[in-house]
């Protein structure tokens, strides 16, 4: 009498399928977590540079906002890991006494972007919001 021992082909295939699903899921989770952590790090760096720039632009005289160069005036050393990056400032005037100043940092070949806006009002005074 022939006595067969071991697993059948179907059993082996099902086992392999389960193993593949488990390993693939683990790898996907691992890479996704890693990607999100990297993006969080990048965002934290970008917003530090953005908030520094806001500190400067909120103190520029209202009448001089349009005459400023459309680039960051603060030290952007913090953005070093994001190189090559692009930092820009845009001033919009929706009303004569209102200006919207938008600061933008783009990196990762323009695929990632962080921006921050402040609204400046002509209060007639100096050094105010």
């Amino acid at each position: 009498m022939s006595k067969e021992r071991g697993f059948s082909l179907v059993e082996v295939l099902v086992g392999l399928l389960i193993l593949t699903i488990v390993i693939t899921t683990t790898i996907v989770m691992f890479t996704e977590r890693h990607r999100r952590l990297r993006q969080a790090n990048e965002t934290i760096l970008a917003y530090q540079a953005l908030s520094n720039e806001v500190e400067i632009w909120r103190r520029i005289d209202f009448a001089q906002l349009d005459g400023q160069p459309p680039t960051f005036q603060s030290d952007t050393s913090i953005l070093q890991p994001l190189k090559p990056f692009n930092a820009a400032v845009k001033v919009d005037t929706p009303r004569a006494d209102i200006k919207n100043v938008t600061f933008t940092v783009r990196w990762n070949k323009g695929q990632r972007e962080a921006h921050l806006s402040i609204l400046r009002a002509d209060t007639g005074g100096k050094g105010l919001w």
Partner: protein, 164 residues
């Protein structure tokens, strides 16, 4: 009767090939992770103690009226910051931030010359204080911190608001 024991060569080879494949994937992933770790500084902003220090600094500097040159044995340096700041009551107090102890930040507040509060944050990076002058002539405070790999991890400019 001949009794076979152990694995065949084919079984061992296939198992090792599968194992090797997973090993290669893991090595590639960890190598990429290490590369990114070296590229990016430590995200200190994820640490509650660091966030608390930055929040207190921001509040104190925004409400600062002037920067005393020296006070109670402290003087302005890249490791100590002296502020005369407004409290919620409208009265002022002198605040000293002492970054001289590695991994610690001490905030001492003085009512006139009397120590009124002493707050310590531990497990924080080594901060440095710098001056940052705006084109408008105003003096901002620049707080920086580097990680163990000497990468700039924190760089924040705080500017007192207009009081007059």
């Amino acid at each position: 009767m001949k009794r076979e024991r152990g694995f065949t060569l084919m079984e061992v080879v296939v198992t090792m090939a599968v194992f090797g494949l997973f090993l290669i994937i893991i090595v590639i992933l960890t190598a990429e992770m290490r590369q990114n770790e070296q590229r990016y500084p430590i995200n200190y902003m994820a640490h509650p103690e660091v966030v608390a220090v930055m929040a207190r600094l921001r509040k104190d500097i925004v409400d600062t009226k002037y920067y005393p040159m020296s006070f109670q044995g402290y003087s302005q340096s890249n490791k100590t910051l002296l502020l005369y700041t407004l409290k919620q009551t409208g009265f002022g107090e002198t605040v000293v931030y002492d970054f001289r102890t590695a991994g610690e930040v001490h905030r001492k507040a003085f009512n006139a010359t009397q120590l009124s509060s002493d707050w310590v944050a531990r497990g924080v990076p080594d901060f440095e204080v710098g001056a940052f002058s705006l084109s408008t002539g105003q003096d901002a405070v620049r707080i920086t911190a580097k990680d163990a790999q000497n990468q700039l991890a924190i760089d924040q400019i705080f500017l007192p608001r207009a009081h007059d």
